[in-house]
């Protein structure tokens, strides 16, 4: 087994009084592909957002490459929290994220979208950034769309830009949040193939998805969540044959 | 001598309180009357803008441009001082102020009403026509009630503006709150105190009216949701009966 890259320890998250995640424990080794499945509203997206602290968890900690990240919850720790918040961009730069609704920046061309992180986060000069961005966009098959603005791109192309934007920073782990659910059916396979390629290149990935075929084929482990908790974790085979009633019910509802 | 004078002295306010309250009443009356006539005028102009006759549309368009472009201050002076000289109609102060407020706000409201009417889904009109309703019935029973709900918040905001604008009527001597405050401030030589209190009175009026509007808005929203639910229930019953 590879060494652990990312660990969630007792992570909990609420919005106001609404508890969205509780007691999340998960250990992810380098090179693993963990797929997260579960009913709508079970907290899958929130789980991903906790990993890179876009939605900072109130409870528990996230350990990334041996370093612990957590937020202090007393007002007395105001200064400590400011310091930790100032460090967050460093963590996020090592973690790529791709969203359901692409979130490409509409006021920038494809290549500018990719270059932004390279110049402003990695501090590369424009020429260097341009070169890397171009390579990144070519890899996802957009070599001929470098200077297009997002409005002129299809959903699938936008999602490729978003993937290239994340990959260009050379992240150690990639988070995918239902990245094919907003796509027209004929565009889904292309994006899934892109993810397969990444997985076989050894990228560590956490993938929230409803594409069960993809999950069963590519995942090293599958996490089933319900009501803000991890109900069961297992290899694809274990999940396929699970006896856990909620997981069974969920699987039969989407596999038909 | 100066040391005997307190730095802040709100006692004169108390002495002038009945005058101030009366002025406040006149300010509110002017704003309410102004907005009332503005709504009537605005409706007419909105209908003209949606008319099928080009002339009416053009007149209505110019009307809105005129009264949205002219500053209230100029309009008030023009009506009160200008018209007497040129046309010989001598309109007293308060009516002059109300006319100015009505004209100015009608320019904005006609645009509000027009877009409210246009915002009602076209399918609603078609559905009404499909039932065999006449055009005026479609307007009266289907389009206007829905548009009404849309225009409540912007009309409320216009009313709030009218309350604030009414302070300008003091320049033609309408004895509203601001005029009283000016007179009393000069009499007691306490401008800071009087203008502060005048400002706070306007503030209270504006905040109360705004609160009232958002409450009304919420009630209308609830009402429309209930109606939609009720009608979908009705649909179900019909289809069950049919099936």
């Amino acid at each position: 087994m590879n060494p652990t890259l990312l660990q969630l320890k007792n992570v909990g998250k609420r919005f106001g009084d609404h508890v969205v995640l509780s007691e999340i424990n998960l250990e992810i080794a380098k090179g693993e592909v963990v797929c997260v499945i579960g009913p709508s509203g079970s907290g899958k997206s929130t789980l991903l957002r906790c990993i890179n602290f876009i939605a900072p968890p109130e409870e528990g900690e996230v350990i990334f490459e041996g370093r612990s990240w957590k937020r202090f919850h007393s007002a007395l720790n105001f200064i400590a929290n400011r310091k930790y918040e100032a460090q967050l961009p460093k963590l996020r730069a090592e973690i790529g994220m791709v969203f359901q609704h692409f979130n490409v920046f509409p006021h920038m061309s494809a290549i500018e979208n990719v270059m932004l992180g390279l110049t402003k986060v990695r501090g590369k000069n424009r020429n260097e950034a341009r070169e890397i961005a171009e390579r990144s966009l070519r890899q996802v098959g957009l070599g001929d769309k470098l200077d297009q603005y997002p409005e002129k791109l299809s959903g699938g192309q936008k999602q490729r830009v978003a993937i290239a934007r994340a990959l260009a920073l050379n992240p150690k782990v990639m988070l995918f949040d239902e990245v094919t659910s907003a796509l027209d059916p004929e565009l889904v396979t292309g994006i899934l193939d892109e993810m397969r390629r990444l997985a076989s290149d050894g990228m560590t990935m956490v993938v929230v998805t409803h594409e069960m075929n993809f999950a069963f084929q590519v995942a090293t482990r599958i996490v089933f969540m319900d009501a803000g908790r991890i109900v069961t974790i297992g290899t694809p085979d274990e999940i396929r044959n699970t006896t856990e009633p909620r997981a069974r019910a969920f699987l039969s509802s989407i596999l038909g | 001598m100066a040391s005997e004078q307190p730095f802040f002295d709100f006692a004169p306010i108390w002495q002038a309180k009945s005058l101030l309250i009366e002025g406040f009443g006149i300010a509110m009356f002017s704003a309410i009357a102004g907005i009332f006539f503005a709504i009537l005028l605005g409706l007419v102009v909105a209908m003209m803008r949606l008319s099928r006759y080009r002339v009416l549309r053009a007149i209505a368009f110019i009307y809105t441009q005129l009264f949205r472009g002219v500053p209230l201050y100029v309009l008030v002076l023009w009506i009160y001082f200008g018209l007497v000289f040129a046309v010989g109609i001598d309109i007293p102060r308060i009516p002059s102020g109300i006319i100015a407020l009505a004209l100015l706000n009608s320019g904005y409201l006609s645009e509000t009403f027009r877009s409210g009417i246009l915002a009602v889904d076209k399918g609603q009109r078609e559905a009404g026509e499909a039932l065999g309703l006449r055009p005026w019935q479609v307007n009266r029973f289907i389009v206007l009630p829905q548009a009404g709900r849309i225009v409540v918040p912007p009309t409320g905001n216009q009313f709030v503006d009218a309350i604030k604008d009414s302070a300008i009527l003091s320049i033609i001597g309408v004895p509203e709150l601001m005029k009283i405050a000016q007179e009393q401030a000069n009499m007691y030589y306490r401008p800071f105190e009087f203008y502060t209190v005048a400002g706070l009175l306007y503030l209270v009026a504006v905040i109360l009216v705004s609160k009232g509007i958002s409450r009304l808005e919420r009630r209308l929203a609830r009402f429309s949701r209930e109606k939609i639910e009720a009608s979908s229930d009705a649909d179900k019953t019909v289809s069950e009966v049919g099936g």
Binding site: L116 | V160, G199
Partner: protein, 225 residues
């Protein structure tokens, strides 16, 4: 009604003074707008802050500034504040400050609306690639918000321009001041105020037209990027 003799010559004769007055109106309104932008931006930042007390304070400031009539603010600043605290404000300065306070409240809402109109996912995506909060705002959120903000800011400016007419009551020699002065001597308020009205309508209509063109351009710019 014994056949009023219109005397439009007076208008033509006082054209230079009227123009001078118009320039002063424009100056007051532009300085007021500049103050409004700064004040509005500060309030909007407070309003969108993550700290509850800052949000509350900003809301109170915005509500106050928006609810008190410009006319009252003007008198309060010019006669009230400056006398009470012996700050020697000129009528021009008092006018600009009053306009800045009123306009600032509106600008705060314009800024806030523009920033909120940008999809929340944009900020998240910017943070996710490791940008700091400040860079995410400056490089990703604000450039998108500004397209929404500019046309509305022009509308606020038109409002301030019209509002600026009242500074003549505290003795700023603007267009209305000139019109009042001239018509007192020549008994031609109708002509003078008509002229001023027409000038303002022309001005506001053309600014609104420019704003419209600008908006179209910004939107076209959007499809080009």
């Amino acid at each position: 009604m014994d056949g009023y003799q219109y005397n439009w010559d007076v208008v033509w004769q006082s054209l230079p003074e009227l123009r001078q007055g118009l320039i002063i109106t424009l100056q007051v309104s532009i300085v007021g707008m500049a103050l409004a932008v700064v004040f509005g931006l500060l309030c909007a930042i407070g309003r969108l802050s993550q700290y509850g007390y800052l949000r509350k304070i900003s809301i109170v400031i915005i509500d106050f500034s928006r609810s008190i009539p410009l006319f009252v603010l003007l008198f309060w600043v010019y006669y009230g504040l400056s006398l009470k605290f012996s700050i020697n404000l000129t009528a021009f300065q008092a006018g600009a400050i009053a306009l800045g306070i009123t306009g600032g409240a509106y600008m705060a809402e314009v800024f806030r609306g523009g920033i909120n109109a940008v999809d929340f996912g944009q900020r998240e995506a910017a943070l996710a690639i490791g940008l700091t909060q400040a860079k995410a705002f400056n490089l990703v959120v604000f450039p998108q918000a500004i397209r929404i903000i500019i046309p509305q800011a022009v509308n606020v400016y038109v409002g301030l321009l019209k509002g600026a007419t009242i500074v003549s009551v505290i003795g700023v020699a603007d267009m209305i001041y000139v019109a009042q002065y001239v018509s007192l001597n020549s008994f031609t308020p109708f002509e003078m105020y008509s002229a001023v009205g027409v000038a303002f309508i022309a001005l506001t209509v053309s600014i609104a037209g420019l704003a419209y063109l600008l908006e179209m351009r910004l939107n076209r710019g959007r499809s080009r990027g």
